[in-house]
Symmetry: C2
Subunit: 404 residues, 2 copies
């Protein structure tokens, strides 16, 4: 098996992050000692129950919510599915509205509701990736047989890093008596997140995007909403999410949330410096930048080079030891151009060239300026090589005037 | 915070088990090194993808299935919900049949399907906790407007440890053109589990019941079934279960599955000796035994003492350092008598006294004969004390002739 080695450079932190050492330290007691089921009434059960409740406070504190508003899930995907099916599920025959740049774990559960009689609508974005508020209002105004029950718009896009004005969107949505959900998976740990201030009805967050373990996420829910569970069973999480609590992961998530606040400024500055350095070099090399006219999180750069396929460049850079993404990690198996870029009006040809660099500022695995410099040198070499290869193909294939 | 100490004894392994050290060792590299998202195409992604696929083989091997039949979930609860909603979901207006002794994570998602137009029926069990096959056939024969699409019967009951004849039940179910699902969460690691041999359409297993980590489970599925996903999104698990893979947990689950086969005989013998020793003592003390006339897994004893409330005894034993359960761990918050015992025809008064001891034979945390001896001594003392307390209450409350 070929594994990454010390010289490999990881620039794909919007996909997943390395576990922070302090998070692991907090988790290990729950993985080495005999532990109980958090539902059990004996001392083993009570001990892990206390740990879960402490984590719930940590999570709540990090996002400006009350502990009672935190429903633990196993992932951001589960929290998004829970939000869509749980909120709209109690309002039959209504309409669910999502933006054109949502992650598939928002869009697909929404489309799945069509089978149950729900209508769905998609709100567009402008060329910067910002929600088209006029379009949103025109959809909400049109209250026909299927009034809008729920609108879901992500706080920060995973590909471009563009930040939406969620409190403004929520204000519009609420004025039409609909519920507002936001997928805040990419904002937590990168910008301040304030559930109360955003004025949304529900918000999704995830542990493994903030140097916490995989296997934990949460839906933060305004409990005045009548939300139906997605997972039925033993009645954990006050009946809203059944299943034995993944205690170690939840404990780790709690600590990762603490760190997402205490380290926010450091992470922000560190990744901002890296991105500025990177983008200066990229622009000099003729890169097309995406979303950079809008407010963005500081760790993300999304760009393309004309006539170079993103997927090809990702593989070339991987062979040289740099891990970057070609659009959303979760759809990396797909060869379709990024739906986010298409929604922004980028042509499919340009969108197919998209490359995402997302920096990490983990205590132990922080990316460095030296890595960015090495990356820029390698990128230049690889671009030249790929352009030459294209040239060679032209020479040997007389009838073919278009690059592969 | 009061935590368990070295002198505490854990007899609640059907609720959750301690992580095997060898499992943790396999997980740690995925928690200490920079890792990728299993969907990513770079070396970090491919490395964890390989690890997930190796675990899939380990899980498949342990349960007599093909790797392609393994769909990873975050828990047994999720796998059971997925089975019920996923299989019946593609067969609208059909009937779902479950046994009267299922875990709530089978029964409740089944009842939740009623809102979508499904009918549900419950098959009873006999006084030993074995499925009433005549009742099952009478339900299946009655093919009215809602033909039965799915029958779910657990392989081993979590409270009594009683083993069902699943291949026989599956044969009946399939003869009526219905699909058969079994929750095998309590059988894996305690008796041989053979998906192909059981002849079921789908089977649920869970990691944390077999000395693996919390946060991993699987639905083993005959892929000829048209099953709908419960979690929609990035299309992981061939579109059947979206969400970033919890790599460390899946890797641990794989190793735990390996051990569930290689250590089966040792665990079987070790827990069998403990249980025989325990039950000899219990019978001498006048315990009522539940399910002991049927074939049972070897680690579980379910019993009651007349006029002693189970919940009270659990708390008394906990204070003396012994962790046992009063019925299903997942409904320990409930004061209702065990639905399993009521289904077996046990009177509510007797059922309220139920206590479950479930032994573990983990490499490092194996229960011992000495612990059983200590437990029997303590149990005797606590029973005497509780009976005396009851007596005192009688004396001080002249009008009250019934124990509290």
């Amino acid at each position: 098996m070929i594994s990454p080695n010390m010289s490999n450079v990881y620039f794909d932190n919007n996909s997943t992050t390395a576990l922070d050492e302090r998070v692991l330290d907090a988790m290990l007691p729950f993985m080495t000692m005999q532990q109980g089921n958090a539902t059990s009434r004996h001392v083993y059960g009570r001990t892990v129950r206390d740990a879960v409740e402490q984590a719930r406070e940590q999570v709540a504190n990090a996002v400006g919510a009350y502990p009672s508003q935190v429903v633990f899930t196993a992932s951001g995907t589960e929290a998004n599915n829970f939000a869509i099916s749980g909120i709209a599920g109690n309002l039959p025959n209504s309409q669910i509205v999502v933006s054109s740049i949502e992650h598939p774990c928002v869009t697909r559960p929404t489309f799945a509701m069509q089978k149950l009689g729900y209508k769905t609508k998609i709100v567009g974005v402008d060329s910067n990736g910002l929600l088209d508020l006029v379009h949103l209002e025109s959809i909400l105004k049109n209250q026909d047989a299927n009034p809008t029950s729920l609108v879901s718009v992500m706080s920060v896009n995973n590909e471009t890093g563009v930040i939406q004005n969620i409190s403004k969107i929520a204000e519009i949505v609420k004025s039409y008596k609909a519920y507002m959900h936001t997928d805040a998976v990419q904002s937590l740990g990168k910008i301040p997140v304030d559930f109360a201030g955003l004025n949304v009805s529900a918000m999704t967050i995830s542990s493994h995007k903030i140097y916490g373990p995989q296997g934990a996420g949460a839906l933060i829910v305004d409990k005045r909403i009548d939300i139906a569970p997605l997972l039925h069973g033993g009645g954990q999480e006050k009946g809203l999410r059944s299943g034995t609590e993944n205690v170690a992961a939840i404990v780790g998530f709690g600590v990762a949330c603490d760190l997402s606040v205490s380290e926010l400024t450091r992470r922000f500055s560190a990744t901002n410096a890296l991105r500025d350095h990177l983008e200066k070099g990229l622009v000099q090399m003729g890169a097309v930048m995406f979303g950079n006219k809008a407010a963005r999180i500081t760790n993300t750069s999304f760009f393309a080079f004309p006539n170079i396929e993103g997927e090809t460049l990702v593989m070339a850079l991987d062979r040289k030891g740099f891990a970057v993404a070609s659009g959303s990690a979760c759809s990396s198996d797909s060869r379709e151009p990024s739906h986010v870029l298409l929604a922004m009006g980028i042509s499919p040809d340009v969108a197919r060239g998209a490359i995402r660099v997302s920096f990490g500022a983990n205590q132990k695995h922080t990316n460095t300026i030296e890595q960015v410099d090495q990356f820029l040198v390698t990128l230049k070499q690889e671009l030249q090589r790929l352009k030459q290869m294209t040239g060679v193909q032209f020479d040997t294939s007389a009838n073919n005037t278009k690059a592969a």
